[in-house]
């Protein structure tokens, strides 16, 4: 289960709209307790894909993710997940998402239709990496 606040929800939606028509991305900072992850803040990261691919792809450089991990630790938090947007595409993980995902993290996807955010969903990858399962979002 993923625990979110309306503030975090709004921040991710705004990031998706600001990034439109390209994909935005970033890390989710918070705390993990068993299968429950609580997000306390987002850490926006620049989409490092080639500019003409960003409308349907994102990549976070190892250097940027290393800095995100260090910043989370500095704040006494953990990286508990990743968020990204799907411009003009449903808030569902693609096969490409699955191939590049890791178990444990929560993967938030926000769909952005014609510049306006629509659905926000969260997904987690099975331990055998075979499939994504939609994760229940609980609101604080």
């Amino acid at each position: 289960m993923l625990i979110l606040t309306r503030k975090i929800d709004a921040q991710i939606r705004t990031a998706g709209e600001d990034g439109y028509p390209n994909e935005c991305c970033g890390a989710l900072f918070g705390e993990a307790d068993g299968d429950t992850r609580t997000v306390s803040e987002i850490f926006p990261i620049a989409n490092a894909r080639e500019s003409d691919e960003q409308y349907h792809r994102f990549v976070i450089t190892p250097e940027d993710f290393m800095r995100a991990e260090l910043e989370a630790r500095r704040q006494g938090l953990d990286v508990v997940g990743i968020y990204h947007s799907h411009p003009d595409h449903p808030a569902e993980p693609s096969e490409y998402d699955r191939e590049h995902a890791l178990p444990f993290y929560s993967y938030i996807i926000v769909s952005v239709e014609k510049g306006t955010s629509e659905n926000l969903t969260s997904w987690e990858l099975s331990a055998d990496r075979e499939k994504f399962t939609r994760e229940v979002i609980s609101w604080l």
């Binding site: 994909e23 991305c25 993990a32 894909r49 349907h56 792809r57 994102f58 990549v59 976070i60 190892p62 250097e63 993710f65 290393m66 800095r67 991990e69 260090l70 630790r73 953990d78 990286v79 508990v80 990743i82 990204h84 799907h86 411009p87 595409h89 993980p93 693609s94 096969e95 490409y96 998402d97 590049h100 995902a101 890791l102 178990p103 444990f104 993290y105 993967y107």
Partner: protein, 97 residues
């Protein structure tokens, strides 16, 4: 000679939840091997069947990616911080969907 190995959240399932470990090593490869020997379940997430490090695992000594310093053979010194960093990517569309 000991280094501090920082474990990302995604891999802590395999380290009994430990965020960091003190490991005696003189190279990055020794540190990673020691980690895998201590927590065998982590191996499949670190190494390909060929024994090569998986492409989506990056390793930093301090803030330097070992890809630019000799890979697993990179020397480490007492007190160095070694960090495992997963590659992160995704996107809406694939060739098939």
């Amino acid at each position: 000679m000991a280094v501090t190995l920082l474990v990302p959240t995604a891999l802590r399932t395999f380290t009994d939840g430990k965020k960091e470990l003190e490991i005696a090593a003189t190279t990055v490869g020794e540190a990673v091997t020691a980690l895998a020997d201590t927590y065998p379940d982590i191996k499949k997430h670190l190494y390909e069947d060929s024994g090569e490090l998986r492409s989506f695992i990056n390793i930093f000594v301090g803030e330097t990616n070992i890809k630019s310093t000799g890979g697993l053979g990179t020397a480490v010194r007492d007190g160095d911080t070694v960090m495992l960093v997963p590659a992160i990517a995704g996107g809406a569309l694939t060739v098939n969907n």
